[in-house]
């Protein structure tokens, strides 16, 4: 549901012309960013939890925004050395291909076509999105199987509708679809209680939830029935830059796994655990190998926090449960897994 043919045509042109455009000078993207003194990050400016305008700080805020900040901290040790470029879904890949932005962190699904045809590289997934369900808290529904016989609000003629039919047939469950042509009508019908559950991508459900009359009375099930892995995207052809983006994400994940967070990172510098010492740059020269300072990861954790903190700050408040979901650490049954720092 995140692509269209028209878009693909534009993107194909963009991809063809990409090599003509600037892909940085000798220092590559990192050199260009350092010369400029700030990172240019393509973001989404209108998704609750992931990217929106915060009037208190006067700038953007959200899960994706925090990863822009993490990257800026890795390079400059300054979370404010970022210029945010809000992008439409149609504009994002062109902006990346033409070098207008250094990195795209705008809930973009990692797919074969985008990775291969559009000559982009996807850094590790930061959020495993997928089609999910939202129900009322007092309905007693906790898993998809509890939805047997339920009425479900769904958008007409989308892959969402198809996925729903396939999944329920596979599980041998009964349901009554309540089909809508427009999202607003579907959301209102659910809010008015005309259906027991509403289905869409989980991140979308969270956005819908913030606009319901009583958000607290609704919850999003952790089970998902489709794959929409979202993560940062960079251009082909600059492996050093790709590495930096990739290991910035891994840094936040590894830190959570090792129990390093913004509150204890300075004590952890004295840790005896060699894994922690390498992560925080006390031992080894991992930062320098990336072209950064050795304490890059320690700075990220100190300023932005580890994955769990970023998640708790942005996504938990809007009702995206982490426990038991794909976004838990691998020890907890999720998919978040960082290769070792060594």
């Amino acid at each position: 549901m995140r692509s269209s043919r028209k878009l693909a045509a534009v993107l194909a042109v963009a991809a063809l012309l990409a090599p003509l455009a600037s892909i940085g000078q000798d220092g590559g993207t990192l050199g260009a960013v350092q010369d400029r003194g700030r990172l240019v990050c393509g973001v989404n400016s209108g998704v609750p939890g992931f990217g929106f305008l915060d009037e208190e700080t006067g700038t953007f805020s959200g899960f994706d925004i925090d990863y822009c900040k993490a990257l800026a901290v890795a390079i400059f040790n300054d979370p404010n050395a970022v210029e945010y470029r809000p992008l439409t879904a149609a504009a994002r890949f062109t902006a990346l291909a033409t070098g207008e932005i250094d990195v795209l962190i705008r809930n973009t699904t990692w797919t074969f076509t985008r990775d291969v045809d559009l000559t982009t590289n996807f850094a590790p997934t930061t959020y495993y999105d997928g089609q999910g369900f939202m129900v009322r808290v007092d309905s007693g529904v906790n898993t998809i199987d509890d939805l047997d016989g339920a009425t479900i609000c769904v958008l007409q003629g989308t892959t969402t509708e198809q996925n729903l039919a396939d999944e329920f047939a596979k599980r041998g469950l009964d349901y009554t679809p309540l089909v809508f042509a427009e999202t607003a009508a579907r959301d209102q019908a659910y809010d008015e209680g005309r259906c027991d559950a509403i289905t869409s991508d989980a991140s979308q459900l969270a956005a819908i939830r913030t606009k319901l009359s009583n958000p607290d009375e609704h919850k999003i099930l952790t089970e998902l029935i489709s794959k929409e892995p979202l993560g940062p995207v960079v251009r082909h052809g600059d492996d050093r830059w790709f590495d930096i983006v990739k290991w910035t994400v891994f840094c936040t994940v590894e830190a959570e796994e090792l129990g390093v967070h913004s509150g204890n990172v300075d004590q952890q510098l004295q840790s005896d655990d060699p894994r922690v010492r390498r992560l925080l740059g006390v031992e080894g020269d991992f930062g320098e190998k990336l072209g950064l300072s050795n304490d890059w990861c320690a700075n990220i954790i100190r300023t932005v926090g580890n994955y769990g903190e970023i998640y708790a700050r942005n996504l938990s408040p809007i009702g995206l449960p982490r426990e038991g979901s794909l976004n838990a650490l691998w020890q907890d049954g999720g998919l978040l897994y960082s290769p070792p720092f060594r």
Binding site: G49, E55, P86, L87, T94
Partner: protein, 417 residues
């Protein structure tokens, strides 16, 4: 110019035209005649009043008890100037103050249209000031200063016009006129700053947003597209085939594509064709798109005006010995442009509202900022309050434009001859 008051204008045969007799009607009589003239009219009146009451009560109850207006004062800075640095906001105020002083002085010096504009703008600021929309007393003070300066300027200007010696008056007018000419340059210099400047640090246009951006886009595009449109219209009527066909092809192509496409091209495709390292400022790209697009429409409006000028006028000008350039400048264009004021202002109003399409570029204009602030989970719920505020602001400025155009038409006597 309608220098001669209508009452004393004489008909060709010399008979005086008297104004129509005025009839004084009391309120009761007026009510009876207009609202309750028959049982059917009475029923309609009562029905309409009942409907107004129900709707009005609903809206008022919502506005006073249910609506959460807090989102507007909280995000006012973002809405008005976007990401303009907080510590540099004084520069925006300085530009506002400069404009207001000039407007006040001009209103006093020349009166007429300018006074009308000053009164309307003052009323707008007054409503904003009186409304519950302001966060703190600091902003209230600054806004109140605007009103005071407007008033002060008007008083000084009025005094100059009424009391001052002729020489001083003449100089006053020159200074104020020069001020208007310098204002755009000064405003851009002040708002954008100088690269590497100490006193006025550079604020890249990319950091502008909100109403400031909406305004910059609209004003610059309107100012640029008008002369371009006139040139295109004249070119389309040229007897030189190269010029004529260039203009026709341009106008017809641009009018044949939606504005969204033009913006899309300017923002997405253009960078692909530029050599590496080149980057054209996004705001400039948007301004270019709006200007080139609207110019085609303005050209067709002006062509309509040009065709409405009777051939006899041109022949008369030629008989007087005016060359083609002077004929066009002194005889044809003034009449043609006056005739198409309503159409052109309509186009400008459309342009002002169309600036909200810059989300494609993407830039965050007034509406864009409002929508993105609303995505903060903190505000949740439906967005009626914010959207109502946005609509009101748009309405105020478009009404200002259409009101001023009507006054301008009257001052130029459109439709009277």
């Amino acid at each position: 110019m309608a220098d001669v008051p209508a009452e004393t204008r004489t008909k060709p045969y010399g008979g005086e035209v008297l104004p129509p007799p005025t009839v004084r009607v009391g309120p009761l009589r007026w009510l009876r005649e207009n609202l309750f003239s028959s049982w059917w009219n009475s029923a309609l009146t009562v029905g309409a009043l009942a409907l107004l009451y129900v709707v009005g009560k609903g809206v008022l109850t919502w506005a006073v008890t249910e609506a959460n207006w807090a989102v507007i004062p909280a995000s006012l800075k973002l809405l008005l100037v976007g990401f303009y640095p907080e510590e540099e906001l004084g520069r925006v105020w300085a530009v506002l103050y400069g404009t207001v002083v000039l407007l006040g002085l001009s209103a006093g010096l020349w009166g007429g249209l300018l006074r009308e504009a000053a009164v309307l703008l003052g009323a707008g600021v007054g409503v904003l000031l009186g409304g519950l929309l302001l966060a703190g007393w600091g902003e209230r003070g600054l806004l109140g200063g605007l009103l005071l300066l407007l008033l002060g300027g008007a008083v000084v200007g009025g005094w100059l016009r009424a009391r001052a010696p002729v020489l001083l008056l003449r100089w006053g007018k020159r200074v104020v006129g020069g001020g208007w000419l310098l204002l755009p340059i000064g405003a851009v210099l002040l708002l954008r700053g100088v690269p590497g400047g100490e006193l006025w640090a550079e604020v890249p246009v990319a950091r502008w947003g909100g109403l400031l951006l909406t305004f910059s886009l609209a004003v610059v595009s309107i100012v640029l597209c008008f002369p371009l449109g006139v040139l295109l219209a004249l070119g389309r009527q040229s007897s030189l085939p190269v010029i004529r066909w260039t203009c026709i092809v341009y106008i017809e192509i641009v009018r044949g594509v939606p504005l969204v496409t033009v913006l899309f091209m300017a923002s997405l495709m253009l960078p692909l064709f530029l050599p590496s390292g080149w980057e054209i400022n996004k705001v400039l790209r948007a301004i270019a798109a709006f200007t080139l697009f609207t110019a085609a429409y303005v050209a067709e409006n002006v062509r309509g005006g040009l065709q409405s000028v009777p051939k006899g006028q041109i022949e008369a000008a030629q008989a007087l010995g005016l060359g083609p350039v002077l004929t066009t400048l002194l005889v044809v264009l003034p009449q043609a442009l006056r005739a198409v004021i309503p159409a052109n202002v309509g186009q400008f109003i459309a342009l002002f509202k169309d600036t909200s399409l810059v989300f494609i570029v993407p830039l965050l204009d007034f509406l864009g900022i409002a929508l993105d602030v609303l995505e903060n989970p903190k505000w949740g719920g439906p967005a009626r309050e914010m959207l109502l505020f946005v609509a009101l602001v748009y309405w105020f400025f478009t009404y200002f434009m259409s009101h001023m155009s009507r006054k301008l038409e009257r001052a130029l006597g459109v439709g009277e001859r």
